[in-house]
Every structure is written in structure tokens, then in C-alpha cells.
Symmetry: C2
Subunit: 247 residues, 2 copies
DNA sequence: CGCGTATTTGAAACGCCTCAATGCTCGTGG
DNA sequence: CCACGAGCATTGAGGCGTTTCAAATACGCG
């Protein structure tokens, strides 16, 4: 059974991202309306979900996998401007061409709604509009946090920042605490990390090696990471160990 | 008469930012309600309007002047994460501590609403919530555009990007066309530009001198700028000359 | 006019990038 | 079962752009 097939006949009540997604505040009636216009689509790792400049015919939520928003300059320089995790929303009600490429970083399953009906539904469903506002404000905060990373942090701090975000998100979804060591698999290639951090992939590789040598992280293979001490990692990231990123 | 006094007794109907602000879509009833909870405050250039971490007791719109959102690391490195122009909204309904410092870059006049009443008003005024969503989505786009600037552009391109944004915004509010030469006063010091661009102030200065030497811009004094050819400037910014930034 | 602040300019140091070669892992086919 | 190739990752050497530190200059305001 494909990953998508798991979802095809499920209803919203069983949805794993229900409590965080754009539909989180909906009551039964509203869910039913949403359910009538939703459909699932899946994308393979590497596939482009939406091309910058294209018509967006649908909006939706990432249900499983990781997608990324990227901008590209004419000469090929690219910058990732957002990382879309399960429950994150894709698309922009009220605008019809996409401002960035949306790419599947891993295999991705999305819960889609045709854009027109969704917009109409939103107009008379304050719960959706309100939740979308909340989510957009959160994303804006995240984007601004990232501006500090891009503008002012060193390569080492950038890597530490990225690892600490992934580590904390991972710990939060898997319900493990933030004390003791955290273990996870990097969902990104070195190149994708570089595109996110505004670095070259060589620099990413070198800094990861350096963090490993200094005992801040441990690696098994290329992707399996252990963080023995999150506080230490966050110091390396230049964040004060309490506040920092809301994940 | 102070700048603030100009506004103190004015009503929303005369407001210069009415058509772009959070209240843009409000009808007469809604305006009246807003009017009953609004008040004006003014801030001098350099003053901090809101401190990061503080309670936010109000939200509001910038009516005149320029404010900036900045983040600061413990060691003093700072990154500006937003530039607030007249009509931009300050504050975040649904959250009560400020995530960044808000500083007056020039003298600023704000139209404020106490946060609680504003939130309540928003709950039963879809026009406000809807407009705020639109504005937040626009800001998110702007933040993401800026991530490309911070992550991937050279110092020269960064300066050109900033000048081109200011030039186009200025041309759009003063209703002049984008053809022919554009003239404006820089509202930012070299240091503020550096904080916005993730550079040092020396690099900003050098790159401005270089653009001047190459005839891309002309300077009279330190702040008065002439752009003889916007297309040329946008090439220098690395943007394709048609699309680029929606201002 | 003179002081304080903003800005410009210079020289040297440093960090990241570029180019290039090597290593590792995994899947495929001989 | 091993050889091979395709990606992905690591490592090295050298160059370039930006920062750092330092000093000189212009500007605005009393």
C-alpha cells in the first residue's frame, strides 16, 4: 500500500495533522464541508509540486513528508525560503500565481482543496480564516528568525541553528523530552541544507565535520544524528538556551 | 503644531493611510467602533516603541514615519527583520509578548488600539480579520524575498536591492511613474542599512560609493539620491527587470 | 566656529567560496 | 559474488569578498 493510499479513504477525524492544520478549529459541520472538497495527492522526493509563476489551482496541507519553498535567481543561485512540515499550509488564498517553487524534499502527501471552493468556504467560515491567520503569523515569525540566521550568523552557527530546529521539532512530535540525548535522521541533503542556510554544500560538510570533531554532535552514516546535549548545541547556535525558536 | 497634533482630532475618513491599513475594508459601522477605541501616539527618531519580550498592550498602524523591527543577539549583532512604513500594522493579535524590538527610525506617529478591545472587535468583524490576513501574507512574501537578499546576494546587489525597493515605494506613494529618473531621500543611516542588509556599515558605504562612481546612482549630500535609470539599478540588484519585488 | 556624529577611505586579516580530487554507499548487471 | 557506476559527501588548496581595525573627512547644530 502506498503512503497516499493510507489516506485516500480516511476521514478528517482520523487525520494525523488535524490538531495543527488549517482545519484545527473547525466544528463538525465545517469539517464536513471541507471533506466534500478535499482530495489527496502524493509527490515523489525531488518532484516540483508547484512552479514559481504558475497558476495555483489548489491550496492544501502537507500531511506527510517535507516540502520546501525555494527562490531561484537567473544565474542559478537558489535560496530556500521555507521548510514545510506536516500540518503546514501551502498556497495563498486571494492570489493566483505562485511566488516560489514548492518542491518535495522527501516523498510528500498533501491534502488538497480546489482553490476557488476553498476561498468561498473561508469567506463564511471564520474558524478557518482565523486559524490561517494564526498560522501565517507563526510563519512570519519563523521567517524573521531565519533572517537573523542568514544575515548575521557564521557558518558554524548556521549549521547549529538548523540542527537545533530540527532536533526540537523532532523531539516535540515524537513526544520525547528535550533533556538527555536527541536522535533523529536528517531529512535534508547537504545541498538542501546549503540552500536553506545561504552557504555552499562544501561549507556545510566542513562545519558538520567540525561539530562532530568537537563532540557537539555524533553521526552514524551521513544522516543519522545524535545530539548529546541540546543546550550545548544551542550555545553553538548563538541562541540563549531558554528562549530562541518557537518550533 | 506637532505632527501628532495634526492627527489628534482627525477622523478616520480623512486618514492618509486609510486605503492601505488594516481598516481599509471596514464599513461605516465598523469604522465607528474602531474610532471609539483608537488614540494617537508619537515617537521620536531613535526611540524604542516596543521592547522585545515586553507585554504588548496595544496594536496599531504606522501613520507617518518609518519604524523597524530588529533582533539582537547576546553579543550585540543585530539584524533588522522588517521595515514598517505608513499603513503597516504593528502587533500580533493572540500573542502577548513582543518577539522583537520595534524602533522609530524617523519620527513616527502611530494610530493605536488597546489590544484587548481590538481582539474582541476582530472576532466579530471579518473585514478586519480578512484584511489583516492579506497584510500578513504580503509581509510574509516580503520577508521571504528578503531571505534571498540576505542569503545569496553580494554586497553590491544587496545595496541595489534596498535602493530599488525604496525607490519604487517612493515612486508609488508620490504617484510618479517608474520611467525617467527617481529622486528621494534615504530614510536610513548607513548603520541602519547595514543592519537591514546583514553587512557592516563600512561595506555599505563602500558599495554606495562604487554605485555612484559607476553612474548607477547620484548623490547630493549623504542622503539625497537620484536614480537615473531604475532598470539599470534592478539589473545591479540581480532581479529581472520586470517582476521582482511587489512593493 | 567648533564639537559630536555620520560617513568615507585605507590596509590587513579572516571566513567562506571555488575548483578539484577522493571517498563512501548502495543498487545493478555481468 | 564482485565489479561498476551514480549520487552524495568529504577533504584540500588557493582566491576573493567582506570584515576588522584605524584614521581622516564631511556634515549639522549649538
Amino acid at each position: 500500500m502506498t503512503v497516499k493510499a493510507q489516506f485516500d479513504h480516511s476521514n478528517c477525524g482520523d487525520c494525523p495533522i488535524r490538531h495543527r492544520a488549517v482545519c484545527a478549529r473547525c466544528d463538525a459541520d465545517e469539517l464536513e464541508e471541507l471533506e466534500s472538497i478535499k482530495y489527496y495527492r502524493s509527490f515523489e522526493a525531488g518532484q516540483t509540486i508547484i512552479w514559481s509563476g504558475d497558476q495555483m489551482s489548489f491550496v492544501g496541507s502537507v500531511v506527510a513528508g517535507i516540502a520546501s519553498l525555494t527562490q531561484t535567481m537567473e544565474d542559478g543561485r537558489t535560496q530556500m525560503v521555507g521548510l514545510l512540515l506536516p500540518s503546514d499550509f501551502v498556497g495563498r488564498p486571494g492570489r493566483d500565481t505562485a511566488p516560489y517553487d514548492v518542491q518535495a524534499t522527501t516523498d510528500v502527501v498533501m491534502c488538497c482543496f480546489r482553490k476557488k471552493p476553498f476561498e468561498e468556504l473561508m469567506d463564511h467560515t471564520p474558524h478557518i480564516a482565523h486559524r490561517l491567520l494564526q498560522m501565517t503569523l507563526d510563519e512570519l515569525d519563523a521567517a524573521r528568525e531565519w533572517m537573523l540566521v542568514l544575515g548575521r550568523k557564521t557558518a558554524r552557527e548556521k549549521i547549529a541553528s538548523l540542527l537545533s530546529i530540527i532536533a526540537r521539532r523532532d523531539a516535540s512530535v515524537s513526544q520525547k523530552g528535550l533533556t538527555g540525548s536527541i536522535v533523529f535522521d536528517l531529512p535534508l541533503t547537504r545541498e538542501a541544507m546549503a540552500d536553506y542556510l545561504g552557504l555552499t554544500l562544501e561549507t556545510v560538510s566542513r562545519q558538520i565535520s567540525a561539530l562532530k570533531k568537537d563532540g557537539v554532535i555524533t553521526l552514524e552514516g551521513k544522516r543519522h544524528v545524535t545530539i548529546p546535549d541540546l543546550g550545548r548545541l544551542m550555545e553553538e547556535a548563538g541562541d540563549d538556551s531558554d528562549g530562541g525558536f518557537p518550533v
